[in-house]
């Protein structure tokens, strides 16, 4: 393992920087810099995806034969670091990071030819339909049923917590096609056109007042059998493959490093308790140093894990746990920097990932902009240890991995 960039990698970094510099508009940069959660604002992050797509960079981890960038782990890391530092919003993960790999790994030639290009271009915007009211951590308990009816499956039931389902025109779903001996059997991975008759979507509002999650109700929705990915009743295999991508496919450290820099910069702009700025207060400087130390060790772990051959296995869970807990810690530091202004509710100073429904002022805001965003990030980031397999579930997986 080499921790220093090679000349080629440094050249790649310069190329990325130049590209970001040339193509990021102020409007798109705002969507990245002023995010209140892991979700970019839909319109602007889609606009950015289109720019990336034109360059062939929309899917860093996909092989080039499917239109991906085909980058190495180091290149992906460099890109992520530069992207966040430049303030570009993330591309929505549900299509390119989650459904895409499932189709590449388990889809038919027709599915690849039809869906992958449209996923890259953003023509299809995806949501994930896994969780149900009775099936969260225990995903295999899912009940949404799909009955065989000739060329179609007829699907009915409810999903919940579906991120951006209100703006998605496609969804990948887990549905029950049979009741077999084990609940994991009889589940099918299905691609559903969200504009089909019988699909309805209802908003869920978060404690920060944002509408990003939804409930999806399917009432006798007809879906062509051709939209099944993998074999009927074998969706669990596809889902597990995809989950490993969701958990371990992307590094957290680039984002964490950029956050630390932003926190430090903001701390230099606000008064401290010891006469200087907050950055000069000894207790704050210690906290920041500790956070940097944790991230440095974790970053090196991510390099090791992602450079290793074979399936991510345990490291996917380690990355998910450590990555989300560090992300949450960043938002705690953010609240410290925000100080007294950290209690103000001012989403108008931010660029949330969905419409805001709680009352707030129109455009002006009080205090530093960083402080207006800090409490929203703090509240929203609580979700990191809940979704994508809660951190308790990840620790259960690791305990099994240790042979316990």
């Amino acid at each position: 393992m080499n921790l220093d960039w090679t000349d080629e990698e440094l050249a790649f970094r310069d190329e990325v920087r130049a590209f970001l510099d040339a193509h990021l508009t102020d409007e798109i940069r705002e969507a990245g810099r002023l995010m209140t959660s892991v979700y970019g604002e839909h319109e602007r992050s889609l606009a950015w995806q289109k720019i990336l797509h034109a360059k062939g960079w929309a899917a860093p981890a996909w092989p080039t034969e499917y239109g991906g960038a085909g980058w190495s782990v180091a290149q992906r890391y460099i890109y992520a670091r530069e992207r966040v530092a430049a303030g570009a919003p993330p591309v929505s993960p549900m299509g390119i990071q989650m459904c895409g790999p499932a189709i590449i790994g388990h889809g038919t030639a027709e599915q690849k030819a039809y869906f992958l290009p449209r996923m890259l271009s953003g023509e299809h915007f995806w949501c994930q339909g896994y969780s149900e009211p009775g099936a969260g951590s225990d995903l295999a308990a899912l009940q949404m049923r799909a009955d065989d009816d000739g060329d179609d499956l007829v699907v009915s039931g409810q999903k919940i917590w579906n991120t951006h389902a209100d703006v998605a025109n496609w969804g990948f779903f887990l549905v029950r096609t049979a009741r077999l001996a084990r609940p994991q059997l009889g589940i099918t991975f299905l691609l559903i056109d969200m504009t089909s008759p019988g699909v309805s979507v209802r908003p869920i509002i978060s404690p920060s007042g944002e509408h990003i999650q939804n409930e999806i109700f399917l009432d006798a929705v007809r879906v062509p059998q051709a939209n099944v990915v993998g074999a009927i009743n074998d969706g669990w295999t596809v889902a597990k493959y995809l989950l490993e991508f969701e958990r371990g496919g992307t590094a957290y450290a680039p984002e964490l490093q950029a956050r630390l820099d932003a926190i430090e910069a903001a701390a230099r702009e606000v008064p401290g308790d010891e006469g200087g700025t907050l950055a000069n207060d000894s207790s704050f400087a210690q906290r920041l140093a500790r956070a940097r130390i944790r991230v440095a060790a974790f970053e090196t772990y991510e390099f090791r894990a992602m450079s290793a051959e074979g399936s991510p296995g345990m490291s996917a869970s380690v990355m998910k746990i450590m990555g989300t807990e560090l992300q949450q810690h960043m938002t705690e530091l953010g609240l410290i920097v925000a100080g007294r202004y950290g209690i103000a509710y001012q989403p108008q100073a931010a660029c949330p990932g969905g419409a805001v429904s709680f009352p707030h002022n129109a455009s002006e805001y009080a205090g530093p902009r960083f402080a207006a965003i800090a409490p929203l990030r703090y509240l929203n980031e609580r979700a990191g240890t809940i979704y994508a397999g809660s951190n308790e579930i990840q620790r259960n997986i690791l305990a099994k991995g240790l042979g316990l």
């Binding site: 951590s137 509002i205 100080g339 509710y345 205090g367 509240l379």
Partner: protein
């Protein structure tokens, strides 16, 4: 009921009331008016203060204290807000930031530098030269940044003796920390209770999730944090009449213990509710937000750890 003189509310009574208000998540500015504001008025004395204390009891008067400024953090001393005596009047100018409950207040109490030190003034929010920029807070209350542009005040707007406000603010600040800590205890009890009930009813893997030992231990840790916070609030409340350094150390014990408990209990209440914790629909989200606000009010953990370390016990008067 009276809030003045001999019949001022007993701190232990206030503690009990605040805990109830916390448990019911009452949003009205009781803390700002009946605890902080009334204590400042009582200590200041004089006919204006007495009339206002009666007004509080009658429900006509609501107070907000403007102390911190854009250029200060948690120190009580004002930096840019000044008042100058001009003949019979005072002229006030400067800015206060994040004045909690100011948009609801009938009267503002404002700290300012004067010739003799730091003084307190009573200011009408609608007086000429006073501008409020109001906004909601994440816990569903309201606050404002307030600007004073040569605001002319009558001689009796001065509360208490000129230049004597700093020790008073310190003392009332500690009383506020104790009362707010009691509110936090009420909030945390409810968070714990709701989490226990939810995990006992939520089924996953064919059983209530409260069966999982890791969740049991988490709730036990939440319980212990609430007990520590409760005890620290007792300490701060019972030391409110102690010599200044002893009182302040006890208040910092409460502030640090309560803030850390608010964070642990709030975060884990959300975590153990899973996705349900991330909706606006359940009460716990609202309790969590109020707990988060209390964490940072009147000084972060770091601020109070520093203060505690600075105030050596032998320095007690």
């Amino acid at each position: 009921m009276s809030l003045g003189g001999e019949t001022a509310p007993d701190p232990v009574d206030l503690m009990v009331v605040m805990e109830e208000l916390g448990e019911a998540l009452v949003l009205e500015p009781y803390l700002e008016t009946v605890v902080t504001g009334a204590a400042l008025l009582r200590a200041s004395g004089g006919p204006t203060a007495d009339a206002l204390l009666d007004g509080i009891v009658a429900g006509d008067v609501r107070l907000a204290l403007g102390w911190a400024e854009p250029g200060t953090r948690y120190e009580w001393a004002p930096q840019e807000t000044r008042a100058e005596r001009k003949g019979e009047e005072w002229v006030l100018s400067g800015r206060k930031s994040v004045v909690i409950a100011a948009p609801w207040a009938t009267h503002l109490i404002v700290s300012a530098r004067t010739e003799g030190g730091v003084s307190l003034f009573l200011v009408a929010p609608d007086a000429p030269g006073v501008t409020l920029f109001a906004y909601p807070t994440i816990d569903g209350r309201r606050a404002a940044d307030v600007e004073f542009a040569d605001v002319r005040l009558d001689a009796d707007a001065l509360l208490g003796a000129e230049g004597a406000a700093l020790p008073l603010l310190e003392r009332v600040g500690d009383a506020t920390i104790a009362a707010m800590g009691a509110e936090a205890v009420g909030i945390m009890r409810r968070l714990l209770q709701d989490t226990i009930a939810y995990t006992q009813s939520r089924q996953q893997f064919g059983q209530p999730i409260s069966n999982f030992q890791v969740l049991q231990h988490r709730m036990v840790d939440m319980f212990m944090q609430v007990e520590m916070a409760t005890s620290a609030v007792y300490l701060a409340t019972l030391k409110l009449d102690a010599p200044a350094a002893e009182r302040a150390r006890a208040a910092s014990v409460a502030k640090v213990t309560v803030a850390e408990a608010c964070r642990f209990v709030g975060q884990n209440a959300v975590q153990l509710h899973g996705g349900m914790g991330m909706t606006d629909e359940l009460a716990i989200g609202h309790y969590f937000k109020r707990a988060t606000v209390i964490e940072g009010e009147l000084g972060t953990v770091d601020h109070h750890v520093e203060r505690f370390a600075r105030l050596q016990p032998e320095a007690a008067e």
